[in-house]
C-alpha cells in the first residue's frame, strides 16, 4: 500500500502542476476560428454534423483558394458536451485568438453574450440563442442572422395559413406547440401567443422534459385534443421519439412541423418509416446536390463520396454550418476591404459582420445558389429577418415543399426591440446609435 500511496501522491502532483501550465496559446498568423462542438453526450447526434460542416468548409477553402485573400484559415475544436460549464473553459481557452464564436448551444450563448462585449469577440448564434440579440443597438457584439425563433414561429403560422387557404382560415384552428422544456424550447411561446390573439387560433403548449425519451403523457393529451397542426421545438432524442409517437397515434404527419433544429436526419432516420411525411422549417436547402458540395467532395474527400457521407455531407445540420462558415469568411472579406488583407481581429470582424451583405450574385459565385437567401446585416438589425423554407422527409431525403415563406417582421420586430430594451434596463446598457 505504501508504494501505491506514494504513486498516488506523485500522480496528483503532476496533474495539478500541469493544469496550471495549460492556458491560452499566443496569437498566430492565421485567421483563427474556435469551434465549440459537442461530438459526445446526449446531444452528439446533433452536434456531430454541425461540427463537420464548419470543419469541411474551412478545410475546403484552404485547399481550394489557399485561405481568404491569402490569409490561411485555422480552427480548433473544443468539446463542450453541450454543457455550459465546459463551454466556459473552451471559450476562455480559445477567445484570445478568436475571430468569431459560434457557441452552438443556447445556454452557452446566453452566458457569453455579456462577456463577448467585454472581450471584444463577436458572437454568432445563427438561428438560435437569445432572440433579442437581433437588436444590434443593445447587443453590438451578438448576432443571430439569418433569422430567429420568433420570426420562424411567425413564418410557420404563415405557412399553416397558406395550407388552409388564407389568414382568416386560422380562426378556430387548434395548434399545439410541443417543446423542449428549456429556454431554447420556450423561445417560440410568446410569439405563438401573440399570433394566437391576432389570428384567433387556439394554442396549446405542451412541455417535454429533457431528455424526452418518454412522452406518452404528451401524446395522450394530443390524442384527446386532436389539434389541426403540431409545431415542435425539440432537441436531441426528443424529436425522434415525438415523431414515432405521432405516427403511433396516426397523427397526419404532414400537419406535424418541426422547427429548424427539430427537422434534421437525427429526428427522422432513427424513427424509421414512421417519419415519412414529417415536415420541418429550415433556412437552407438540404442534400448534397449544390455546387459547394462538389467542391468539398473534390478538395476535402478526394471524390470519396462514401467517406463524405459518413461525415454527414449534405445533411441538414451540416449544410447549415456550411452556410455559417461561408458567412464568417464573407464577413472577414468585408473587414479586409476596410482594414487590409491580413488577419482580422475580433473587433474588426464585428465591423465586418455589421456591414455584411451577401447578395444573390455573390451566393451564386460561392456555389450556394438556391441553398440560401441573400443576407444583409446592419448595425441595428443583427438578424436580417430571413425567410423560412418548409421541407418534408420522404423516407430517404428532405424535399422542399414550399416557397421561401416571409416572416411577420411587423409583429416580431417590436417584440424584439421591447425585449432588448428590458435587457438593457436590467443590465445598465445604453443602446448605441446606428446611422
Amino acid at each position: 500500500m505504501t508504494h501505491r500511496r506514494t504513486m498516488l501522491a506523485g500522480m496528483l502532483g503532476v496533474v495539478f502542476a500541469l493544469v496550471f501550465i495549460a492556458g491560452p496559446v499566443a496569437a498566430q498568423n492565421d485567421q483563427f476560428f474556435p469551434l465549440l462542438v459537442y461530438r459526445t453526450g446526449p446531444y452528439a447526434p446533433n452536434g456531430i454534423p454541425s461540427a463537420n460542416g464548419f470543419r469541411d468548409y474551412y478545410d475546403m477553402v484552404n485547399k481550394r483558394d489557399g485561405g481568404v485573400n491569402g490569409v490561411k484559415i485555422s480552427w480548433e475544436e473544443c468539446e463542450t458536451s453541450y454543457d455550459t460549464k465546459r463551454g466556459v473553459e473552451c471559450y476562455e481557452k480559445l477567445k484570445a485568438r478568436a475571430t468569431v464564436v459560434h457557441p452552438f448551444s443556447t445556454g452557452i450563448t446566453y452566458q457569453l453574450i455579456p462577456k463577448a462585449a467585454v472581450d471584444q469577440v463577436p458572437l454568432w448564434s445563427s438561428g438560435y440563442g437569445r432572440t433579442a440579440t437581433a437588436d444590434g443597438t443593445v447587443f453590438p457584439w451578438a448576432f443571430n442572422a439569418p433569422t430567429t425563433y420568433w420570426a420562424q414561429a411567425s413564418a410557420v403560422i404563415n405557412y399553416i395559413a397558406q395550407q388552409e387557404g388564407g389568414m382568416d382560415k386560422l380562426k378556430g384552428k387548434k395548434i399545439a406547440h410541443v417543446y423542449h422544456n428549456s429556454p431554447y424550447g420556450k423561445e417560440a411561446n410568446p410569439t405563438l401567443e401573440v399570433l394566437a390573439q391576432k389570428f384567433g387560433y387556439e394554442l396549446t403548449l405542451l412541455a417535454v422534459d429533457h431528455p424526452g425519451q418518454e412522452q406518452k403523457a404528451t401524446w395522450l393529451q394530443i390524442r384527446r385534443l386532436r389539434p389541426d397542426y403540431i409545431y415542435m421545438s425539440s432537441w436531441g432524442v426528443m424529436g425522434q421519439v415525438a415523431v414515432k409517437e405521432a405516427a403511433a397515434i396516426s397523427f397526419p404527419m404532414d400537419h406535424f412541423i418541426g422547427n429548424w433544429w427539430s427537422a434534421s436526419e437525427a429526428e427522422v432516420v432513427p424513427a424509421g418509416s414512421a417519419a415519412n411525411g414529417y415536415k420541418g422549417a429550415t433556412f437552407n436547402g438540404a442534400g448534397p446536390n449544390w455546387p459547394v458540395h462538389q467542391d468539398i467532395l473534390k478538395h476535402v474527400y478526394n471524390g470519396d463520396q462514401a467517406k463524405a457521407k459518413e461525415n454527414n455531407w449534405g445533411e441538414v445540420l451540416y449544410n447549415r454550418t456550411l452556410v455559417g462558415a461561408m458567412a464568417n469568411l464573407e464577413a472577414v472579406r468585408v473587414a479586409q476591404k476596410r482594414y487590409g488583407n491580413r488577419v482580422i481581429t475580433g473587433a474588426e470582424m464585428r465591423w465586418g459582420m455589421d456591414n455584411l451583405d451577401i447578395t444573390a450574385a455573390r451566393i451564386k459565385e460561392l456555389g450556394f445558389d438556391g441553398m440560401m437567401r441573400p443576407l444583409r446585416i446592419t448595425c441595428a438589425d443583427h438578424e436580417g429577418s430571413g425567410p423560412v423554407l418548409i421541407q418534408q422527409w420522404d423516407g430517404a431525403k428532405w424535399n422542399p415543399v414550399s416557397d421561401w415563406i416571409p416572416v411577420m417582421r411587423d409583429v416580431v420586430r417590436p417584440m424584439i426591440e421591447q425585449s432588448a430594451m428590458e435587457y438593457a434596463k436590467e443590465n445598465n446598457i445604453t443602446p448605441r446609435k446606428c446611422e
Binding site: M1, R4, R5, L8, A9, L12, V15, F16, L18, V19, F20, I21, A22, G23, P24, V37, R39, T40, A44, I48, E77, C78, E79, S81, T84, K85, V88, E89, E92, K93, T106, G107, Y110, Q111, I113, P114, K115, A117, V118, R130, T131, A132, N181, S182, P183, Y184, K186, E187, N189, P190, A207, D209, H210, S419, E422, Y423, E426, N427, N428
Partner: protein
C-alpha cells in the same frame, strides 16, 4: 521531521481547542491563504481564474455545505443542485427588485431562503434513511428545477427563462456583471470561501458538530443522551442548504454570468457528492481537495494530449478523459477509501518522521 510535534505543549484548554493545534498546520494554512490572496491574483491570467480557480472555489463551498449534511450529520442528499438553484434565482430576483442592495448581502439573504427550502425538504429525514433518503432528496432536485423553469416570476417574465447577472458594485468596485474583472470575482469568491470554511470548521468542532456526528454514528444512542434527531437534522439541512445556496448564487454571479435551470441539474448534485466522497466525508479540507479533483482533473485530462503535443479528435479525447477519470476514481478508492483528507493525514504522519523511515 517537518511535522515534528515534540516541544509543542499546550498549557490551556484554549490552546488545545484551537482550530489548528499544530504549529506547522497553522503556518501552512496561513501560507496557503496568503498565496491565494496575494500571489495568485498577481500571476494568474483570465483562463486560470475563469476556467479553473473560480469554479474550484465555488464548488468547494458547495462541497463544504454538502459535507456538513452528509459527512458530518450522515444525511445523504442528492438535492444540492436544487438548493444551489434556489440561491441563484433568489439572488437574481432580489437584486433586480432592489438594485441598490449590496450584492453580498443579497447572497446571504438568498442563502437564508435556500436554508428554509432545505428545512422543508429535510423533514422526511426523520423517517427515511440512507439511500432511500438520497433518492427522496431527488424530489427536491427535480421539483425546484421545474419550479424555476416554469414559474415566470422567478426570472422576471423574460421570454426564455434565463437569468443574467446584472452589474453590481461593492464599495465602488464592480463585482458582478460583464465589467467585473475575473480577478475581482476571484477575490470575492475566495473571501467568501475562507469565511464560510472557517465558520464550518468552527461549527463542526463545537456542540453542533458533535451532535451531528453523534446522529451520524448512532442515531439511537444520540437520542438517548438527549440529542433530539429532528432539530439536529433540520439544522444540518438548513446550514448545508445555506452554503449550497450561496454557492449557487456565486456560480451565476461570480462565474457563469448567466444560466438556465439546466446549470443546476442533477449532474451538479452528483458532482458535489463525488467531491465529498473522494475528498473525504466529514472533513472540511477534504471538501476542498475533492472539489479540486472533480473540477480540475477533467480539464487537465482534456488538455493533456495537446500539452504533450498529441493531437486527436475531440470526441476521442473526451472519451479517454471519461475513462481515465473513472478509472482514477476507482483506483483512488481502492488505495484510500476514506478520501484525500485521510490520505493527507497519513502523509502528515510520515512527514513527522521524515526523512527517517521509522
Amino acid at each position: 521531521m517537518i511535522y515534528l510535534e515534540a516541544g509543542q505543549y499546550k498549557t490551556t484548554y484554549e490552546d488545545d481547542q484551537a482550530i489548528f493545534p499544530i504549529a506547522q498546520d497553522r503556518y501552512l494554512v496561513l501560507a496557503a491563504v496568503l498565496v491565494a490572496f496575494v500571489a495568485v491574483p498577481l500571476v494568474a491570467n483570465e483562463y486560470w481564474l475563469q476556467a479553473l480557480l473560480i469554479p474550484f472555489l465555488i464548488f468547494s463551498l458547495a462541497a463544504i455545505g454538502l459535507n456538513l449534511l452528509t459527512g458530518y450529520a450522515g444525511q445523504l442528499s442528492l438535492g444540492t443542485g436544487g438548493f444551489m438553484a434556489v440561491g441563484a434565482y433568489m439572488t437574481y430576483k432580489i437584486t433586480t427588485a432592489f438594485p441598490e442592495l449590496n450584492i453580498l448581502l443579497v447572497f446571504i439573504f438568498s442563502g437564508l431562503i435556500a436554508a428554509a427550502v432545505g428545512i422543508v425538504f429535510g423533514l422526511p429525514s426523520l423517517r427515511i434513511k440512507g439511500f432511500y433518503l438520497a433518492v427522496a432528496t431527488l424530489a427536491a432536485q427535480f421539483f425546484i428545477q421545474w419550479l424555476f423553469n416554469k414559474v415566470a416570476w422567478f426570472y422576471n417574465y423574460n421570454p426564455s427563462g434565463t437569468i443574467t447577472a446584472p452589474p453590481r458594485e461593492v464599495f465602488g468596485v464592480m463585482v458582478t456583471g460583464p465589467e467585473a474583472t475575473a480577478t475581482v470575482r476571484y477575490l470575492v469568491a475566495l473571501s467568501l470561501l475562507v469565511l464560510f470554511a472557517l465558520a464550518a470548521k468552527n461549527l463542526v468542532r463545537g456542540r453542533i458538530g458533535r451532535s451531528w456526528m453523534a446522529i451520524r454514528d448512532m442515531d439511537i444512542a444520540a437520542e438517548i443522551i438527549g440529542i433530539r434527531p429532528l432539530p439536529t437534522k433540520l439544522l444540518a439541512f438548513a446550514i448545508s442548504s445555506f452554503y449550497c445556496g450561496v454557492a449557487g448564487a456565486m456560480m451565476i454571479f461570480l462565474w457563469l454570468g448567466s444560466a438556465e435551470t439546466l446549470a443546476f441539474d442533477i449532474n451538479v448534485s452528483f458532482q458535489v457528492l463525488f467531491m465529498i466522497i473522494i475528498g473525504g466525508l466529514g472533513s472540511i479540507l477534504g471538501s476542498l481537495l475533492g472539489a479540486a479533483f472533480i473540477t480540475l482533473v477533467p480539464i487537465f485530462l482534456i488538455n493533456a494530449p495537446a500539452l504533450v503535443g498529441v493531437h486527436m479528435e475531440v470526441a476521442l479525447e473526451r472519451h479517454i478523459e471519461s475513462i481515465v477519470f473513472g478509472a482514477m476514481i476507482v483506483y483512488f478508492l481502492i488505495v484510500e477509501p476514506n478520501g484525500f483528507a485521510r490520505f493527507w493525514q497519513i502523509t502528515k504522519q510520515k512527514l513527522r518522521r521524515w526523512p527517517f523511515p521509522y
